[in-house]
């Protein structure tokens, strides 16, 4: 959501709204991760009173969806694509091919045998 978005764009890669959104989600997740983990610990700890654990469950489920790690999706940094993205290169398959053939990716070589 836009209330989390940075006022000034701080991205140096390909930019479209989906990339901005994902970047915002990443930053929000990093900010709220300790809180989420603390709540998860309270929920998992069976020695704590049941009431406390139920409250923690409620609190965790009521946190904003942007603070959730599963909302984050790796996108291509040169085309913003969300599918077929190589994690090691952070590029989608077509961008990867183009850059690899152009020799922009060190150590990547077309296989031939």
């Amino acid at each position: 959501m836009s209330q989390f978005r940075a006022k000034k764009l701080d991205l140096g890669c390909f930019i479209n709204i989906r990339v901005i959104r994902d970047h915002t989600k990443r930053k929000v997740f990093a900010e709220h991760e300790p809180e989420r983990q603390a709540l998860r610990y309270i929920i998992r700890n069976t020695t704590l009173p049941q009431r406390t654990r139920a409250q923690a469950q409620l609190q965790l489920s009521q946190m904003h969806c942007y603070t959730r790690g599963t909302q984050i999706k790796n996108r291509c940094i040169m085309g913003g694509k969300g599918r077929g993205v190589f994690r090691d290169f952070r590029l989608a398959r077509f961008q990867f091919r183009m850059n690899a053939l152009a020799g922009n990716l060190p150590g990547v070589k077309k296989a031939s045998w």
């Binding site: 991205l11 140096g12 994902d22 990443r26 990093a30 900010e31 991760e33 309270i42 020695t47 952070r90």
Partner: protein, 117 residues
């Protein structure tokens, strides 16, 4: 050769103290696995490359030097040519009345009524 349980518990306690883990002989679910997990936030937030410096920053740093920004000049040239041909962008509407007229035209649906003269 049987070892008493108390002795094994002592061993476990010492083991936990040395390796700084939680001593939990009853095997209760204490949720310690959550505390053991590393925080993934910083690595995930560093996925996209950040903006380092722009030509604008360079110009602001050295106001006395002339910085040539090709892309910006191209853009301004294009706008100038478009304006000369009368194909430029319309002026920004400042008042509500001006913008309302524009909105009515677009959101009609049927045949638009001609404005009263």
């Amino acid at each position: 050769m049987s070892v008493p349980r108390s002795r094994i518990l002592d061993l476990m306690k010492a083991q936990c103290r040395i390796f700084s883990t939680t001593f939990n002989p009853e095997r209760l679910r204490l949720g310690n696995k959550v505390l053991r997990q590393r925080l993934r936030g910083p690595t995930l937030a560093a996925y996209y490359p950040r903006k380092v410096a722009t030509l604008k920053d360079l110009q602001n740093l050295y106001p006395t030097f002339e910085v040539v920004n090709d892309a910006e000049e191209d853009r301004l040239n294009k706008i100038k040519v478009a304006k000369m041909r009368g194909k430029g962008a319309p002026k920004k509407k400042r008042t509500a009345a001006e913008s309302k007229k524009f909105g009515k035209k677009r959101g009609g649906g049927g045949a638009a009524k001609p404005p009263p003269t």
